[in-house]
């Protein structure tokens, strides 16, 4: 049952959007803390460039492309939902989820290969950060995908169409985090 409180909007910003920004705000500081720590270490350890050279820039670049494309689908889904077309929105959300799945698969191959070469999470603190930051990000991708499927299932029946926008905002955030991770972990040599 929806409380009356939920139907008010004093600021003019829809309550759901306020809530999602709150979630993103708290996520930003989590990743911010982790990345700031990484940067401090990285600046103090020029030798880490040698480790970073063993990351797979091509795979990372491909994944960046995949995530950006999936974000595009999320935008289109939002448009469809605005137009009241729940079925189309659901399809586009599933396309977004597929993007997430490709991303994770590529990651899986990358990590398997690196671990086989001996670059495990304990190999060196660079690799510890590498797996921790990317792993935390991957958890967010997975969580986003699950929620996205739930939203898609509802949108197909025309229920809670405004959730399409909210999960989209979250997905863009996950995307942006990757855009920070990719240069910091892969490209910087």
């Amino acid at each position: 049952m929806r409380p009356i409180a939920n139907t008010r909007d004093v600021t003019g910003v829809p309550t759901g959007r306020l809530a999602i920004w709150w979630v993103i705000g708290s996520e930003i500081v989590i990743f911010g803390g982790l990345l700031a720590s990484y940067l401090m270490y990285r600046l103090a350890n020029p030798g880490w460039a040698g480790h970073a050279a063993h990351t797979n820039v091509v795979a990372g670049g491909f994944n960046t492309f995949v995530l950006l494309t999936s974000s595009l689908f999320a935008v289109l889904a939002h448009q469809a939902a605005e137009a009241g077309n729940g079925k189309k929105a659901a399809k586009l959300l599933i396309a977004t989820t597929v993007g997430g799945l490709i991303f994770l698969t590529v990651k899986g191959f990358e990590w398997t290969h690196e671990i086989q070469l001996g670059y495990t999470i304990t190999a060196n603190t660079f690799w510890s950060f590498y797996y921790t930051a990317a792993g935390l990000h991957a958890c967010h991708v997975i969580a986003g995908m699950i929620v996205m499927l739930i939203v898609a299932a509802k949108a197909r029946r025309g229920v809670d169409l405004h959730h399409v926008e909210l999960i989209g905002i979250y997905w863009h955030f996950v995307d942006v985090v990757w855009i920070f991770l990719f240069p910091l972990l892969y490209i910087a040599k």
Binding site: V10, G25, I30
Partner: protein, 569 residues
Amino acid sequence: MAVSVGSEPTAHEDHHHEQSFWSKYVFSTDHKVIAMQYMATGVVMGLIAGFFAYAFRMQLAFPGMDVPGFGIVTPADYVSLVTNHGSIMVFWVAMPVLLAAYGNYLIPLMCGCDDMVFPKINRLSYQVFLLSAIVLVASFFVPGGGFGGAWTAYPPLSAKAEYNLTPLGSSLWVLAVALEFVAFLLGGINFITTAMNSRAPGMKMYDIPVVIWMLLIASILFMLSVGPLIAAAIMLLFDQNLGTAFYDPNRGGDPVLWQHLFWFFGHPEVYVVLLPTIGLTADIISVFSRKKLFAYRTILYTAFGTGILSFFVWAHHQFISGIDPRMAHIFTVTTLLISIPIAEMMFVYIATLYGGSIRFTTPMLWALAFIGEFLIGGVTGIFLGASGADIYLHDTYFVLAHFHYTFFPITIIGFYGGITYWFPKMFGKMMNETLGKIHFWGTIIPFNFIFIPLFFLGMAGQHRRIYNFEHFPELATPGLQNIRVFATTALLIMLSFQLVFFYNFITSLRKGKKAGKNPWKANTLEWTTESPPPHGNWPPSELPSVYRPPYEYSHPDREEDYWPQNVPN
């Protein structure tokens, strides 16, 4: 809103009758029930932490004694007791009681709406919190016992089982703290959206009661500061369990990183718990001096300013951790600056009292005591903030006494002030004033007798976290030992007076005088509904509107000395 007016009442009524015990009290989504759950859990955890204090203070006063109810306190027991005493008091008492319980109870009622915006997220928040408490309590019983690396959990002690000897206890501790953070981030979603978006029609920014503002600012501060510590906790868990070396200097890590991340959160955190109590003190003082709150807007701006500044003082906890002395200077300056806004708020309260017709009810006594006692905490902070003095005082009982003079007023006085003030609303009955005053004096006087002596022990060089001072000849003199016995005795007296409160609570609940809607003649919206408020707080058609700011007491144009916010004129 108009849509729901017709359909809601029947829905609510049906709901009410069908509810079983479980759905009404255990899995409820009603913000008032969730507030009570948070409060009850907080109080139970507080009793546990109080019991721990009893056990380790007995050991300090009478080393080697077989403590009644606990047994012999071994060195491992001792460190585990102090660690968990501190952790529980901060994370499982101050946070749930001040922020979650008062926040949940007051935000919808004082903003004039029927519930939080997302009731299910609210319930989830409590469930995660309960889980965190269970994990923590479970950690005391695992092989090796509970974590003993201090509530600040500095590595390498916290990171390596070879050092802390609690391989399971330390990981469970980190896990419990992390879950607790998740619970409060979830709770914050509701606090912020409800206070921002769901206020009663007509309630403008400056019509919001100070306590609500403070709960809001506290939630924002928490959200902005806790992230780095969550990241730090993940790294610590990996160091403990996967063998990474984030904090291990032998393998390229740095233990001071943890200190930075911990205190980047830790100092704002002290304001997270401080602000709710500052807020409810403002409300209580205004009501019981029957006077408009002095400088309402200044209080708000000050709170925002303090909030921002609180992100730039953290390294005052690390003056002897090997930070650059030039950095120490900068942090000395910011730390000394932050005592200005705090002092200013105290003056604002005193100015509110000036010329008022003061009523010394029990909640008012608590509010006044908060001002007096917290002042001592703030003033001693200035000594510690000056890096030169702190090099000597760091990690002594002076620091310990300082933060107990801040935390005790905030947590314990704040809790009692709030509960004695809102008890009539929460339960529909008045509390017994005589018993309330006995409890007040029986708590406040011994409190000072516990902690004033500890300042002197600290200045005499007594270090924290040492379980038996007999091993240190220069600290084991009869003079110093007598002070320890004195402080422990005062603690025993203070603890036994808490029984008066519980007795008063239970008898008032059962036999107390009926409170009526507005026993204190207060202005804010929660006093316009029944006591206790029904499910939905007001009948949907009678949800209040707001016409004026919350502190219009003794207005010259009015016959009555108060002017409720919801009365058109």
